[in-house]
């Protein structure tokens, strides 16, 4: 048990932190929603009703979509794009999808490799791109969820201000939708930009996200 926890501590800790943050968001969001209800002369709603509301849904989904977009872009673009001196980049002569030998597929697959790494055709292609595909799919689903929950939350506010609701296609052209979307995208892209560039010159001893402390600033694709 202790060994399992130690060997999986990264996933376990982030899973727990995620759950705690989501629960905290639910309580804070519920309190904020009810503050507005009282200000509008309306009764507070229950916690259960809030966490199944479109208001909570859009707040969750708008952050999820941008996180998965960030990782999707990072995973896919780093196949081809390079950053000299960054541990987030491959070596400067490795841009592209690389050879079968480098990727250990087909006849180069070692014992214990996933079966589809040895297979030919669509199965090898699917395994070869599965991380990007799943991240991209979750991004699109989250963005769809944001738009669906978003139009409902937006229309609830419209009605509370005695204004007309809008349809889902109309909502996709509303500044509200793009403001929610782009404010999340810009922060995620800034984080990737910062990580790729700051890691050229800065170090975090022992972290695989950093170069070794003594590595040259110009060393590319070296993780410590």
């Amino acid at each position: 048990m202790r060994r399992f926890v130690r060997e999986n501590s990264l996933g376990l800790v982030f899973g727990v932190l995620f759950a705690l943050a989501l629960i905290g968001q639910a309580f804070a969001g519920h309190a904020a929603f009810n503050q507005q209800q009282v200000a509008d002369g309306l009764p507070p709603i229950s916690f259960g009703r809030y966490v199944t509301s479109s208001d909570f849904g859009v707040d969750v989904a708008e952050n999820w979509q941008s996180e998965y977009l960030q990782f999707f872009l990072f995973i896919v673009l780093t196949v081809w794009l390079l950053q000299k001196g960054s541990p987030e980049s491959k070596s400067l002569d490795e841009a592209g999808t690389e050879s079968d030998k480098d990727q250990m597929v087909g006849v180069h697959a070692p014992d214990g490799a996933p079966a589809w790494a040895r297979a030919a055709g669509w199965r090898r292609w699917l395994l070869s791109n599965s991380l990007g595909l799943v991240m991209g799919a979750i991004f699109l689903l989250s963005w769809l969820a944001q738009s669906v929950a978003g139009v409902s939350a937006y229309n609830e506010r419209q009605l509370s201000q005695l204004q007309d609701p809008v349809s889902w296609p109309q909502y996709l052209t509303e500044p509200e939708f793009w403001n929610r979307t782009l404010q999340n995208w810009q922060s995620e892209l800034l984080a990737v930009f910062s990580m790729a560039v700051l890691a050229i010159y800065l170090r975090q001893r022992g972290s695989p996200e950093s170069k070794p402390v003594g590595a040259m600033h110009s060393s590319t694709g070296v993780e410590g």
């Binding site: 209800q37 509008d40 002369g41 309306l42 009764p43 709603i45 966490v51 199944t52 509301s53 479109s54 208001d55 909570f56 849904g57 859009v58 969750v60 989904a61 999820w64 979750i138 689903l141 989250s142 769809l144 969820a145 944001q146 669906v148 929950a149 139009v151 409902s152 939350a153 229309n155 609830e156 419209q158 009605l159 509370s160 201000q161 005695l162 204004q163 007309d164 609701p165």
Partner: protein, 130 residues
């Protein structure tokens, strides 16, 4: 992935599936308000108003809601053309009126009635809370 499906389902439920029962309840209250006011039953009409709307009416009229609401120029009930329900709020569009309602513990209550569209600006309403 399961969590994402749950959130997507929540979004869809919150976004689209305000079922027929809620719509019926909302349109029923909207029509009953106009019917009661038209029949001269001020008390019954006021029982369907949100508390802030009752207070605003009594403040502006300087009389009880049951009396004051009969002096308001509310239209007669007509066919319900459209009902929109989003979370705690709803809008009912009748042939001759538009009403805005909110959810209360006792059911839907009318926040604003006798409303006319002003395009991008909020509706102009004969009866309005707050």
């Amino acid at each position: 992935m399961a969590a994402l499906v749950a959130v997507t389902a929540t979004a869809l439920v919150g976004g689209c599936a305000d079922g027929g029962a809620r719509r019926d309840a909302v349109s029923g209250v909207a029509v009953r308000l106009l019917t009661a006011a038209g029949d001269g039953d001020g008390a019954a009409a006021c029982a369907l108003l949100a508390p802030d709307t009752v207070a605003a009416l009594e403040r502006s009229a300087g009389a009880s809601c049951a009396k004051a609401i009969l002096d308001e120029d509310l239209p007669a009930p007509t066919d319900v053309r459209r009902v929109d329900v989003y979370g705690q709020w709803a809008r009912v569009v009748l042939a001759g009126d538009t009403e805005f309602l909110a959810a209360f513990p006792g059911g839907w209550r009318v926040v604003a009635a006798g409303c006319r569209s002003r395009g991008e600006r909020p509706y102009d309403c004969v009866l309005q809370g707050g």
